[in-house]
């Protein structure tokens, strides 16, 4: 494919120049021209008032595709605990499988026979389970090799997993090996009614922009999906399904996991599973400010989080950081205190159900995503709120 300007239609208005993220459009003799900098992003197509810019398909774009069959969810386990996002994906995967008229299967490496049954109760019709010791602890190479082997044998059309450290590390190897398309960190998945392609929607540029990605030819269509954006399916204790035992014969690894270390003190509060989060930013002013937040968190049974500014100041460890370079959270209630709301922070928390923003600057961008905004001094407001809730709870 390439992008072409129809010089007869081009009026020389220059509207397309600004639309190009790569500076790949220049004016030549009063007409727009696409240069070799073009990355084929299509951003210019819709801006031309004359409709002079179009994409030109080449023969290679029109290959036939063997669709494959089945929607798969790779169910991640660590220390024998199935990740919440895997259950969310069984919920989302069921919807996709129904639309495609195909089956929903889960893949489980490590874990027990009961874990496999649990995946069935959460919606899987079939579970491919390998319980050999080599696979019990996450390790990129054996995970990638065995999943690739299974995919080649079974030919699923869609393979999903959570956008967790595990999924985001080994899925790319599988995609590279199979020449499959892989979209990272999706927040929404749909099926195109016409082509039956999987439409994978994800944020880019730190969440400033959403993009819809699709794989016109390659199969399977693979995606990692952000935790806590999909809804879990219906749990049915009586649901029955098939468990297929998978052998790890011939699978090897050139990396060895020597030890798995838990940092309990810092991670006792798992932000991604929290229902209520109290978060602080630069406006908290220091350790003392964060003490106020801890008191509020205590009366609410909440976890404490922070913006990058507060983490950079050393007021709270990195693990508490929410945002583009930290965690993405989606609690029922998110209380942002003294956080201005840089877009890098907003992308990590804007899917929270209810957001309360407390900030002394009425222009702070955090108010644009807040359900309730309070303009005021956090050092006054936070203790008042703590006291009020304490009184209420008696």
């Amino acid at each position: 494919m390439y992008i072409k300007v129809n010089k007869d239609l081009c009026s020389g208005c220059e509207a397309c120049l600004q639309s190009c993220p790569y500076d790949a459009i220049v004016m030549k003799d009063g007409k727009a021209e696409i240069t070799e900098l073009c990355q084929l992003c299509r951003a210019c197509l819709s801006v031309c008032p004359e409709g002079a810019i179009s994409e030109v398909k080449e023969a290679a774009d029109l290959k036939e595709t063997d669709q494959g069959k089945g929607v798969w969810v790779f169910a991640e386990q660590r220390d024998g605990k199935i990740a919440g996002v895997s259950l969310e994906l069984l919920g989302a995967g069921k919807g996709l499988a129904e639309k495609l008229g195909t089956e929903l299967a889960a893949v489980l490496f490590g874990g027990t026979a009961d874990d496999a049954q649990e995946l069935i109760r959460w919606g899987a019709e079939k579970v491919f389970h390998c319980n050999e010791p080599l696979l019990s602890t996450f390790n990129d190479e054996p995970y990638a090799s065995l999943l690739s082997k299974l995919i080649v044998e079974q030919k699923p059309e869609i393979v999903l997993t959570g956008a967790t450290p595990i999924g985001r590390s080994f899925f790319p190897r599988v995609a590279a090996r199979l020449r499959a398309g892989l979209t990272a960190d999706c927040t929404s998945l749909e099926i195109d009614n016409e082509t039956k392609n999987l439409l994978q929607i994800r944020p880019a540029f730190g969440g400033n922009i959403m993009a819809t990605i699709f794989c016109p030819h390659a199969r399977p269509q693979m995606a990692t999906v952000r935790p806590r954006v999909m809804k879990k399916g219906e749990y049915d204790a009586s649901r029955k399904g098939e468990v297929v035992a998978v052998s790890a014969k011939g699978i090897t690894s050139r990396t060895r996991v020597v030890e798995t270390v838990k940092e309990i003190a810092e991670t006792a509060i798992n932000l991604q599973d929290a229902n209520v989060i109290v978060a602080g930013g630069r406006g908290m002013g220091g350790d003392k400010g964060f003490q106020l937040l801890r008191e509020l968190a205590e009366v609410l049974g909440a976890s404490v989080a922070a913006s990058r500014a507060a983490v950079d100041e050393g007021w709270i460890p990195y693990r508490h950081q929410v945002g583009q370079t930290g965690k993405t959270v989606g609690p029922k209630l998110y209380i942002a205190c003294g956080i201005s709301g840089a877009v890098q922070h907003l992308v990590g928390m804007q899917s929270s159900d209810i957001i309360i923003a407390i900030n002394k600057n009425p222009e702070a961008p955090i108010f644009s995503v807040a359900t309730f905004g309070i303009v005021g001094d956090v050092h006054e407001i936070v203790p008042l709120l703590t006291k009020k809730i304490k009184d209420l709870k008696g």
Partner: protein, 260 residues
């Protein structure tokens, strides 16, 4: 030790916005930077060189302007810079990008390859592990500490959600790094001067003997269908009154919503 550091020139993402009416990127004067994670990868490469000796090659794939990023890396202390640039690379997704970089790295030769965890424009974190797969070498992601590195052994800590894993491997290996790994050095004045004059090696699709069917848009399994602005919330309420009154209203609302 032959060390290759992959870097990417990215727009300073905080400043890239979308025009909601035309659904196009607004990038008036958006400055470009070296992807922040890649700066930590480069620092790690320089530290490995200081320990084991050898050479640090910094590699990027991009348009000719990406030379700026390479010169910054040279100023920090890289020995050599390679710019992979060719019209044939246009439209590459992570698969095609990783394939192209892997061919270049095979051409350059490497024992340790370092990448940032992800780039801040695409945020995919896929290119590093994919390069390793194409080269048929192991990779370890999210390195937060390099405990030991030598020609026959590597011991590192991989950051996970609930702590970290200690992982052992040996070169050739690819590592992707997180910011906790190190504090990148500032370029010296001497380094800056030298970087200005340094030669940037250019490589094309032909130079790296890449298969043209695996390059650019043709080699990319994924395609962007469209881009759009994220939805904004509309049900906002700024609470009025004295501090006490605001808190009263807030708590009432929260009780009403069964949040408390």
């Amino acid at each position: 030790m032959r060390i290759v550091v992959c870097i990417k020139q990215v727009p300073d993402s905080a400043e890239v916005r979308i025009n909601p009416e035309t659904n196009t990127l607004i990038r008036d004067g958006v400055p470009t930077i070296i992807n922040p994670y890649d700066v930590h990868a480069l620092e790690a490469g320089l530290q490995i060189r200081e320990k084991t000796g050898g050479k640090v090659t910094v590699l990027t794939m991009g348009p000719p302007q990406a030379e700026t990023a390479l010169r910054e890396a040279l100023a920090m202390g890289a020995d050599e810079a390679v710019l992979l640039t060719d019209r044939a690379f246009a439209g590459s997704d992570t698969w095609a990008t990783a394939y192209t970089l892997s061919k270049a790295i095979e051409h350059i030769g490497a024992d340790v390859i370092l990448c940032g965890k992800q780039a801040i424009d695409g945020d995919t974190a896929q290119v590093g592990p994919e390069i390793a797969e194409f080269m048929d070498i192991p990779h370890i992601s999210y390195i937060r500490k390099i405990v030991d590195v030598s020609t026959d052994r590597l011991l590192v800590q991989r950051l996970m959600d609930d702590g970290f894993d200690v992982i052992e491997s040996s070169p050739p290996v690819l590592l992707t790094v997180v910011r906790e790994l190190n504090v990148p050095r500032m370029p010296s004045l001497k380094g800056k001067m030298a970087a200005k004059k340094a030669e940037i090696k250019k490589m094309s699709a032909a130079d790296i003997k890449a298969d043209e069917n695996d390059l650019g848009l043709k080699g990319s399994p994924t395609q962007v269908r469209n881009i759009f602005a994220p939805e904004a919330k509309t049900d906002r309420k700024i609470l009025e009154g004295t501090a006490e009154e605001k808190i009263d209203t807030l708590v009432k609302e929260l009780v009403g919503l069964k949040c408390i």
